[in-house]
Symmetry: C2
Subunit: 460 residues, 2 copies
């Protein structure tokens, strides 16, 4: 029996409870795009107190809740397909305060990532967590999934920038966590527990985020790598001398697709099976010279066979295109995506093992590799063959998943580096977390959400 | 009734269970030095499996366990005064492996901080978490208290360097947490839950720690500050231009005591009520020039009234003495210590409020302020008057604590910035954590340690 929504609408402002079909479809899905949205209603609270009231209402009426940010996730974490009430943070989109001396900004969870980045720029500062969906993703969602992206090697994950949280637990309690303190040794850091919890413990409603100094002269190197094993040497060579802000990777196959799709010239003369894109902030000539020395050493030691370095911001942007355009370029071939990680020293070993598996199991499948290799994070994209039904293809890929994840498990890797678990990766969670760990996670979940109201079916 | 220790000794190697009075006294206390040690026995396991067996034994026999590292804590977190079995990690003191390309070192929890720092130096790298007790404190204890220290403004807390943990929970389960992965979005990060948990959820037995590049040319500025409110301006001025590696603070009273105790000259000509010690890594002339510009701007804007800058490593070391010698200098006066923090923008407000409280309540007490002011972390030291009994003095200070902590609560501060809660700060936990938060912490504790075996009476 469906609960009456009248009592819920009383909690909210007028026009803040949506039940029309278009809204249900819009708010019921994320970018995963393979689940059928079917929420009961969409609630658009304006305050933390309203969120707490909704959670209490849901506990009383035994209604499941799905917290909803920009819904740019790729694991179905924000999908509502089972009569849930979606709590969308869209109306909690204000930057509340900013303290110049601490470089901390306090904002509501519905602030768009790009909005925060722009706010930082307007204050001559920088919010360094950046990724493809920054124009739509919300801060609350970023925190709930501990979003990473392209600058992690220098600036870390979202976790590293969260100085405080206001949350509503699955019991409807409002907690203020850490409040911007740098040092606070007073017991379990519940803030860190909520970061990456995918909306299963409660709802993040406000966050205190640290900003930092802007980079001054971002410089890009695009390098040809003769063989995979050299990637580790390259990382080590540069990391000893230069603070890299990015260390990205893609294959010749990926490059070829981008060049032909976007009609771009080959960026480096020498063709090679793999390429690395390195970025650093050339704050002084000294740093620039160190990078150049590393480049020359790399050539001498045959770690790289060719390369170019940007001489201007425009050239840097041009070089980034070869990496950034990959996802969009292959999207027409509806790739089956795996977002996996190992420690950076095991990347080439893992990549070789996966290549062998795919070649053996599906010799006709086209594999496109790219990723944030400085963090050990690889995006494995298997393209749908032109002559194959997509559903059939997805099933085939799902059959190969356990083989890949078994290798990942042997190497101590992660089945989801930065996309989260949600619905899509839940069947594979035990490849990265032991049964014991999962039991303890369930124990924590029970302490924060005893009635299993918060995002049920996701993650655990 | 005391349990038989025979069954416990069977778990351990020969000579690894101590019950002699001298060992009980040695292992039963930490640097807090105000509790009477009275453990039942001291266990010295050599493997994680032995630790797990001890925890299972303790659950079966309902014996409390106290995890024990270097016992350099100042809050009684490692005190065993109630018939507990102390699990000392002294025999698990090996560095197990090191991967050059990831700069990650895997070690046992009993490794001494200085041993890890030396290992890093031997590999041309750097472990940046550093504090007064680094020569005795163990990595496991550092992690259990999320140790901070003097480089937090640049390098963060222990938390920021822990890439993986092996732990034994209060149920005796062995968990491998994160295993060195940079990106791992697979549910609750139990690693972060154990960091700062003060041995109340389980025992850390191994850790994977990230190292970083060594600083090249650490340079120190010692600056005279005309009034407290200028400290925030000074922090902001420098932080916009330079990556500070330290931003320390002390009062003229503190300086005076150090100069007279150690027969040192006044380091800057102009006497002022407060001083700040800034450190940065002058990796290039450009950075050095930026720091000099900030210095000049500071003088022009009357944020500072005088200052000196080190021209060599030796001069830098000399300047550090004025800050580092404070603790030892005043130790003869048995200071009552409070280790508190607010966000850095509220430091001068808070300090003024506390000065007023102490002046009003105890006009004869001598107060020595110093601390890591760039992190908002202040060490408030009230010196025992020469003519006052120490116990009487301690009681008087404890009576003033609630007044100070009430101001701290209003400002959203922490009653323990980096010393942890342990036994000593437990009565005051609710000034920094709400009753609701404490309830959720107890829920987590119950999931990991249902029989309340692990460090009972500490923190919660």
């Amino acid at each position: 029996m469906q609960p009456s929504l009248d009592s819920l609408s009383n909690i909210l402002d007028t026009d803040s409870l949506l039940t029309d079909l278009s809204s249900l479809e819009h708010y019921g899905k994320d970018w995963t795009n393979q689940y059928t949205p079917k929420p009961l209603a969409i609630a658009l609270p304006k305050t933390t107190e309203q969120v707490a009231s909704i959670v209490k209402w849901a506990n009383e009426h035994n209604v499941s809740l799905v917290p909803s940010g920009g819904r740019t996730g790729l694991s179905g974490g924000a999908v509502a397909s089972n009569g849930e009430v979606v709590i969308a943070l869209d109306k909690m989109n204000k930057i509340l305060s900013f303290v110049d001396s601490t470089q901390q900004v306090h904002c509501q969870a519905g602030v768009i990532t790009e909005q925060l980045q722009q706010f930082a720029t307007d204050n001559d500062l920088y919010y360094p967590v950046n990724f493809a969906s920054s124009g739509s993703s919300q801060i609350g969602g970023n925190i709930a999934t501990n979003a990473g992206g392209i600058k992690v090697i220098r600036y870390g994950l979202t976790r590293d920038w969260v100085m405080g949280l206001k949350v509503v637990t699955g019991k409807g309690d409002i907690l203020e966590l850490n409040s911007g303190l740098i040092k606070n040794a007073t017991g379990y850091d519940l803030r860190h527990l909520f970061i990456g919890s995918e909306g299963t413990l409660g709802i993040i409603t406000e966050a205190t985020i640290k900003l930092t100094r802007q980079p001054t002269s971002l410089t890009v190197l695009l390098l040809s790598i003769p063989e995979l094993s050299k990637v580790e040497d390259l990382l080590q060579l540069f990391q000893k001398e230069v603070d890299l802000t990015a260390f990205e990777f893609f294959s010749e196959e990926a490059l070829n697709k981008v060049m032909s799709h976007h009609n771009l010239p080959r960026p480096v003369e020498t063709e090679s099976p793999y390429y690395c894109l390195l970025e650093f902030d050339a704050t002084s000539d000294d740093i620039l010279n160190k990078a150049l020395e590393c480049f020359e050493t790399g050539l001498e030691q045959e770690i790289i066979v060719d390369g170019v370095m940007s001489q201007s911001q425009q050239q840097a942007d041009e070089l980034w295109k070869y990496r950034e355009y990959i996802s969009e370029t292959i999207s027409g071939r509806k790739p089956y995506k795996n977002d996996i990680s190992v420690t950076p020293d095991k990347v080439s070993d893992f990549l070789n093992r996966v290549n062998q598996i795919v070649k053996k199991e599906y010799p006709s499948f086209e594999v496109i590799w790219f990723g944030h290799i400085g963090d050990g994070n690889l995006h494995l994209n298997i393209l749908t063959p032109e002559d194959m039904d997509h559903l059939e293809f997805t099933k085939a890929c799902e059959q190969v998943n356990p083989l890949i994840f078994e290798e990942l498990k042997k190497l101590g890797g992660s089945i989801s580096a930065e996309h989260g678990v949600g619905l899509l990766k839940k069947p594979y969670l035990n490849f990265s977390r032991s049964e014991l760990e999962i039991e303890y996670m369930k124990g924590i979940k029970a302490a924060f959400d005893p009635n299993n109201i918060m995002n049920p079916g996701k993650l655990l």
